[in-house]
């Protein structure tokens, strides 16, 4: 590969990755600011607004993405990759910016949550169209034998987007007072998006169309009906199904377990302090992110199949021991208390007496319990909360255990873009690869937190001793089925893209 070629491919990677990263950023800030957004747009005392809130969370995150994949995938196979993923970028950026401009529920009433829901659905559609375009565009530029390596840069964007969203929110919060952030500062991360999208749009605008697609267009071999050819043709449909049940379904649940379920498990099941969870998750993600590229590169050498299946197998075998070990770090029955501190304060506004009890354990673990009692009736205890601050060595143990899960994510996710684009011919590539990816990630992966939480609460109600591990049955079973299908039906030989 000459120096000019290398420079050219880096330009392609930068333009594609930056846009995709911004789309993930836009998608995540809604989730990261969910608490403040709900107070501004979805008052809990209004059932309709609360219903719209749930729809905004579920529908955009899970259901709309496959529809975006179909809509923009079809466009990408008809008019080209470049213009389509520029459209998704603009759609995402404008929707995000506009969410930051909507007046609150107090000002415009019911229209506020309705507008948020509509814009959130547009975000989901855009995200559904973006990934396939970026992955296809990069893969069709990449030299033969290096597709795994170059497309793996696209795979890092979801994690980097999450990190940047956290950083922008953190910086905005640190520059403003709590009151200012609550009144208008929460809008800043949404407004920042339009600047990033503008820069990315200019970069993408100056890029050329994918050479493989241009050649097909010139020869008049592009599809006239990509949806019909992808899903109405038996030969192609069997590969769409194989991609879904033999790869993306398992990849989706491994990804969501490592990056999202680990976080919610530590916060809600282990009751670890929320800031401490964010910090240790951030460290694990930073340490793990380079491995997307490592496994993408390795997949060029030994094939995509065995790396992805290896990641799934490790996840299936090790999830329960890993979560068992994580839970043990906060098992207070095995720790000795060395001191107990208690303080009280009166909240005049709420007419409540707050009691904070701090138990310090021999190994440095701190348990903080908060209770609130009405001043008028001191026997009434309410709003009890308890959180654990783990000691330094346990913190690093948790970082390691989350890092191991991120490694599984990088194994299944690093090579998948190359794997998917190689599965389908140029005429229907965008459509055919986008759908299984977004069904696997959006539906199978996206439903993981809700299903896992349901399984945990169900077995807790039955009084099972290891109830906290039962949420893992969902990713283990889904990844298990996917592993068997992938190992038996997927071919590991290298494929041509032409």
């Amino acid at each position: 590969m000459s120096q000019n070629d290398t420079k050219g491919i880096w330009k392609v990677i930068s333009a594609s990755s930056m846009g995709t990263m911004i789309e993930w950023y836009d998608f995540y800030i809604f989730g990261s600011l969910a608490v403040v957004i709900s107070t501004k747009f979805f008052p809990s005392d209004n059932p309709t607004a609360a219903f719209l809130s749930t729809l905004a969370t579920f529908a955009a995150g899970f259901v709309v993405r496959p529809f975006g994949a179909l809509f923009f995938g079809r466009l990408g196979d008809l008019i080209g990759r470049k213009y389509t993923f520029m459209a998704t970028l603009l759609l995402m950026g404008c929707s995000t910016f506009l969410i930051g401009c909507i007046p609150s529920y107090e000002t415009i009433g019911f229209f506020a949550p309705l507008l948020v829901l509509i814009l959130r659905l547009l975000q989901g559609l855009a995200l559904g169209g973006e990934y396939g375009g970026a992955a296809t565009y990069v893969a069709e530029h990449a030299p033969v034998g290096q597709r795994g390596y170059w497309t793996s840069w696209i795979q890092t964007t979801a994690t980097v987007g999450l990190l940047i969203s956290l950083i922008v929110i953190l910086v905005t919060k640190s520059l403003l007072s709590d009151e200012a952030f609550d009144v208008w500062g929460w809008r800043v991360p949404f407004w920042v998006s339009i600047v990033m999208v503008g820069v990315s749009y200019i970069i993408r605008k100056n890029m050329h169309e994918s050479p493989v697609f241009s050649k097909a267009k010139k020869e008049g071999t592009i599809s006239t009906n990509p949806l019909k050819e992808s899903f109405g043709n038996r030969y192609n449909l069997k590969f769409v199904l194989l991609a879904l049940f033999g790869a993306t379904m398992g990849q989706g649940v491994v990804w969501y377990t490592g990056q999202f379920y680990a976080m919610s498990f530590m916060k809600t099941v282990m009751n670890v302090n929320s800031s401490q969870v964010d910090e240790l998750l951030g460290i694990a993600l930073l340490l793990g992110t380079p491995f997307f590229v490592v496994f993408g590169w390795l997949s060029d050498k030994i094939g995509r199949k065995y790396i992805m299946m290896g990641g799934m197998l490790l996840a299936i075998l090790l999830y329960r021991p890993i979560y068992q070990k994580m839970y043990e770090t906060v098992n207070l029955e095995q720790k000795n208390i060395v001191s107990v501190g208690r303080s009280t304060e009166i909240n005049e506004a709420k007419k409540e007496l707050h009691t904070i009890t701090k138990n310090i354990y021999e190994d440095g673990t701190i348990v903080t319990k908060k209770t609130a009692a009405s001043i008028n009736d001191k026997t009434l205890k309410a709003n009890m909360s308890s959180e654990i601050t783990v000691n330094s060595s346990d913190k690093w143990l948790l970082v390691f255990l989350v890092f191991v899960q991120v490694l599984f994510v990088t194994m299944v996710y690093g090579p998948i873009a190359a794997f998917l684009v190689e599965m389908f011919p140029v005429q229907i590539r965008y459509t055919s690869m986008s759908l299984p990816y977004h069904v696997g990630n959006g539906i199978f992966g996206g439903l993981l937190p809700a299903i896992a939480t349901y399984l945990v609460s169900n077995s807790k109600a039955k009084g099972q001793a290891d109830f906290y591990l039962d949420g893992l049955w969902y990713p283990i079973i889904i990844a298990g089925i996917c592993f068997v299908i992938g190992m038996i039906y997927i071919d590991n030989t290298k494929k041509s893209m032409d």
Partner: protein
């Protein structure tokens, strides 16, 4: 290998039926009749999005496997 692929097709078909039962009677319907609105949306997604995807998708996949669509010479 082709024989294994075809035989396992029956398993995928049976799994599609099993998934239909669990999705409808264990996850979907109980959530659909819950008073909690979040549960209601979850139930709707399980019943009308996840269930058809798994049942139809895995069913067709199993059928294709039985018919030999995934035989080595056809890949």
């Amino acid at each position: 290998m082709n024989t294994i692929k075809r035989t396992l097709g029956i398993i995928w078909l049976l799994l599609a039926f099993a998934a239909a039962y669990f999705c409808v009677f264990e996850f979907g319907l109980p959530k659909l009749f819950s008073d909690n609105q979040e549960d209601l949306v979850f139930g709707i997604i399980i019943l009308f999005i996840l269930t058809p995807l798994i049942v139809a998708g895995l069913g067709i996949f199993g059928y294709f496997a039985i018919k030999g669509e995934y035989d080595l010479e056809k890949m």
